[in-house]
């Protein structure tokens, strides 16, 4: 035991030793920096909620028009955002799901499903919000929706996409993401369990579900399951920029990557080298002392110029979300595509080579090497064609189309829809669909118009179907 005065001297030294080093981390502002760099390079799964599973429009280039690409990458301009409330309380809730599969050691941090909840004071309706491909339940687009919904008087519960690695580990019963039906079942069970554990038992008058991009399709699936299970009592559903078919778009998405970036290893390397050189040259003539988020946001406009560059950013976003899905699926099913099932990596093992290999894996590879082998074994008698077919919104059945409480918001230039798919939506959801002229994929989420229509739809007072 140290004498008190000496102990005090030691205690006094520790925090002092801490303070300066921490300045370093702050100087580099890692978090904000990541976000900014990723806006440009699309280089991380957190940024992946920019898009669903895109198919492309127009045969020749395979690219959407410039305005749509730009809207998709940059999102809603701040001055067009709807007015939000002054403050929205946010609780983070982590729940262990009893059906979770044994957690691979390398994913040790995904033990509980992490969701976010914003409670109202008294009784209120509950909005369940589901994120898009690869995104978590606190992503930027979620925050936009949360602000609008909370401001309109909802309790808001937001969940990660079933394709987010956190969900795959903590709440998937298979470890293989991407099957609309199976993901829906897991999501449904998870929501039921979370609602039973909400802090302070909020009073809920009724439940609505919504989601953007792939999350829209997930929300619709929730409602279909609820019609059978009756555990949630979901009243209305809204799909924001949903995909119509998931797997039939595989070829087109892989082509987008191939066109805009090229072969995964050399193409990505070239993209990186070009980005590095351009950033370096901009930085050298700028007044900035550090490469921080202010600089990077400014640089984004200078670096992203051609349609190809915007396409590359979008394609890369998907590829990196896919890489995480692929890795988890391979690990859980022991498919042996990128990791040795007999010797899976541990938390301390270098993964750079695995990561590089994964970046080269296409959606088609995922389907062929992980997804199809698993489901063909699980569901005796099924075929590859059947697996593809059951992952279409239109295969969810007439229930969706005849359900008058199921609404859609989309854009005429949404990259993830082709003409036929848009026509199918417009026809099938006539009177319950708002189609905006411009916005690309999610490039107008949170705007005044989108928010006003969203709230009107959820409250069943939307009358804009005639325009």
């Amino acid at each position: 035991m140290l004498p008190p005065c000496q102990a005090r001297a030691v205690a006094a030294r520790i925090p002092r030793m801490m303070k300066l080093p921490i300045r370093l981390l702050s100087r580099h502002r890692l978090g904000a920096l990541l976000a900014a760099w990723l806006t440009i390079s699309g280089a991380m799964p957190v940024a992946a909620d920019q898009s669903g599973l895109p198919t492309t429009r127009g045969p020749a280039s395979g690219l959407a028009d410039s305005a749509a690409l730009r809207a998709t990458v940059f999102g809603t301009p701040p001055d067009q955002l709807a007015d939000g409330p002054q403050r929205v309380p946010v609780k983070e809730i982590e729940v262990r799901m009893p059906w979770m599969r044994p957690l691979p050691r390398v994913l040790w941090f995904n033990e509980r499903l992490r969701v976010w909840f914003s409670p109202q004071e008294g009784e209120a309706p509950l909005a369940i919000v589901i994120a898009g491909t690869g995104a978590d339940g606190n992503a930027g687009n979620i925050r936009l929706l949360r602000g609008a919904l909370y401001g309109a008087g909802y309790h808001v519960l937001s969940l990660p996409s079933p394709t987010h690695p956190g969900f795959i580990s903590a709440a998937s019963s298979t470890g293989v993401a991407g099957d609309l039906g199976q993901d829906g079942e897991d999501l449904y069970r998870a929501v039921v369990r979370i609602l039973a554990h909400l802090p302070d038992a909020p009073r809920i008058s009724h439940v609505d579900a919504l989601g953007y991009s792939l999350g829209g399709a997930n929300a619709a699936t929730l409602k279909l399951i609820d019609a059978r299970e009756h555990k949630l009592g979901i009243r209305r559903v809204l799909m924001i920029n949903p995909p119509v078919s998931l797997f039939s778009s595989i070829g087109r998405l892989d082509r987008l990557f191939a066109q805009a970036i090229g072969p995964a290893d050399s193409g990505l390397e070239h993209l990186y080298q070009r980005l590095y050189a351009e950033l370096a040259n901009l930085y050298r003539v700028s007044d900035a002392v550090q490469v921080d988020e202010t600089f990077l946001y400014g640089a984004a406009a200078g670096i992203l110029r051609s349609d190809d560059e915007f396409s590359a950013a979008i394609a890369l976003n998907f590829r990196l979300a896919l890489a995480n899905m692929f890795f988890a699926g391979d690990l859980y099913t022991r498919a042996g595509a990128v990791v040795d099932p007999k010797d899976p990596p541990g938390p301390g093992d270098p993964l750079e080579q695995t990561w590089a290999t994964l970046r080269g894996k296409t959606f088609a590879d995922y389907f062929n090497e992980v997804f199809a082998p698993y489901y063909l074994k699980q569901r005796a008698g099924t075929t590859r064609e059947a697996l593809v077919a059951r992952n279409r919104l239109d295969s969810l059945g007439d229930a969706l189309l005849t359900d008058l409480d199921c609404y859609v918001q989309t854009n005429r230039d949404d990259l993830i829809l082709d003409r036929d798919e848009l026509a199918w939506l417009e026809h099938g959801f006539a009177g319950r669909i708002a189609v905006y002229e411009h916005g690309g994929h999610l490039g107008n989420i949170g705007s005044r118009e989108q928010v006003a229509d969203m709230l009107a739809m959820l409250e069943g007072r939307w009358t804009g179907g005639g325009r």
């Binding site: 002092r16 370093l24 580099h28 929205v88 609780k91 690695p165 050298r284």
Partner: protein, 295 residues
């Protein structure tokens, strides 16, 4: 008195965190949509204005002479990380520490009124200008150095001891530097990637730089905050908390097994990009080609 501090500290740590078996609940700082929107609009306007006035300035430091960076100059996508196993376990340790101690405290701090927090932040930032001034001088970048010194002078007086960032409103934004950058200017390569305990991503060079910064602050002991005051430990704690509260980062929020790789990639590229400016300003900093970045 010390007991009171400790009590406050413990209360802040425990505030808003409950855990029962399978469920963990944590209160996060409120979302402030209206404020975020206003800030985004302001940032967009600033950006537009900056691009408007872009006319490439023959800037303070002459950079025009150096040839532009070409894609062939880009460092390898791989990072020199010979201590990877130790680094990865340190990263994990940092994540645990952040989750259980650092972040809860920072979240408690984030609930304080904004003017109070910005006062604290400006105060620490202002003391940092001393080190920046010296380092800019050592780097041979007098114009930046004078800016840092000017900011210190203005904010210490007009800004009531640094509580208000008056200089920023006079179009003298903060631009900090440290001894790590000075070492770079003197020709030292980044060296291997290192994850430091509690602090996170660094390199051998930046670790040395950190030691330099620390020694400098210790030696100068500005205002007696760093060494002489009986309560300088409180100062250190407050500084750490304020800094953590300003970093919007959450360990493993990505859920990805490749988070370590991604952060290593980004940190190293950021430092290497910053080296490019020093190189353009005449630093004799050899490029490592054909080897993992940093080597």
């Amino acid at each position: 008195m010390r007991r009171a501090y400790t009590a406050v500290f413990a209360a802040a740590m425990l505030a808003g965190c409950t855990s029962t078996g399978n469920v963990r609940v944590r209160d996060l700082p409120d979302d402030r949509p209206a404020e975020s929107r206003a800030m985004a609009i302001e940032a967009a306007a600033r950006l537009a204005a900056a691009q408007e006035a872009e006319a490439p300035r023959a800037d303070e430091e002459p950079t025009a002479l150096a040839p532009p960076v070409t894609p062939a100059d880009a460092p390898s996508m791989r990072t020199y990380d010979p201590f990877e196993r130790i680094n990865r376990s340190m990263y994990r340790f940092n994540a645990h520490f952040d989750e259980s101690v650092f972040l809860p405290v920072a979240n408690g701090y984030r609930r304080l009124p904004r003017p109070l927090r910005s006062g604290v932040h400006n105060f620490f930032g202002n003391l940092g200008e001393i080190g920046s001034t010296l380092n800019f001088a050592l780097q041979g970048r007098p114009v930046y150095g004078l800016r840092a010194l000017g900011r210190f002078a203005i904010n210490s007086t007009l800004g009531v001891g640094g509580l208000i960032d008056v200089a920023k409103r006079m179009k003298l934004p903060r631009a900090a530097t440290g001894f790590g950058t000075t070492l770079a200017k003197w020709g030292m390569r980044p060296g291997p990637y290192i994850v430091l305990p509690l602090i996170g991503p660094s390199t051998l060079r930046d670790t040395a730089g950190l030691g330099g910064d620390f020694g400098l602050a210790w030696g100068i002991d500005a205002g007696g905050f760093y060494r002489s005051s009986r309560n300088s430990w409180m100062f250190g704690v407050a500084n750490s908390i304020d800094l953590r509260a300003h970093i919007d980062f959450r360990y493993y929020e990505t859920g990805s097994a490749f988070e370590y790789d991604t952060i290593r990639f980004l940190y190293m590229r950021q430092r290497l990009l910053e080296d490019e400016k020093l190189r353009a300003e005449g630093a004799n900093l050899p490029r490592s080609t054909g080897t993992p970045a940093g080597q």
